[in-house]
């Protein structure tokens, strides 16, 4: 077998407030973030009951990952999603908590 599939994640330095706030401005994406914050850090995309189609789901997960808010890792046919809590708190202290509390 070849190298495992992998997905690009920005480093904390590469995260921009612009991307973070734009990403969090969408209610569907905040639903994902809230569910990740409330549960374990290894939920597949399918575990989120989102009110959109499968391809739209893919889109939202990618926006969150590219902003640096979530991590994504292949695991079989699924993807394990996690909140990048520590890195976010490092880069933008208090921001994630404030948004989660307000949601």
């Amino acid at each position: 077998m070849g190298p495992a599939r992998s997905l690009e994640h920005p480093t904390p330095e590469q995260m921009s407030l612009d991307s973070i706030l734009s990403a969090l401005a969408d209610p569907v994406r905040r639903t994902i973030v809230a569910q990740l914050a409330g549960g374990h850090d290894d939920q597949a995309c399918i575990a989120f009951a989102l009110p959109v189609s499968k391809s739209t789901s893919t889109h939202h997960f990618r926006v969150l990952r590219e902003a640096g808010i979530i991590s994504q890792q292949y695991r079989g046919t699924s993807i394990l999603n996690g909140l990048r809590t520590e890195e976010l708190n490092l880069r933008f202290p208090g921001l994630l908590d404030a948004v989660l509390a307000a949601n």
Copy 2:
């Protein structure tokens, strides 16, 4: 003379996280917010050296006001702009500070 011109402001209950985050996601609008946070609370729109045209400025100030982030009050031919710090902290605790610190 008739009644003074007035502008609509949402109450804290009417503020939505959606509008707040969308408003703060724009860099021009964050420039305005940052300048208000750093200075006095009575700066006219003209006092902001924004890299956009006059009509675009009007647009951004309105978005901020309708989201509940700034207050606007007519004063002669000008408008006095202020940050609604207390009300924002009441409705979305920590959010404004986190964004200002990250900016």
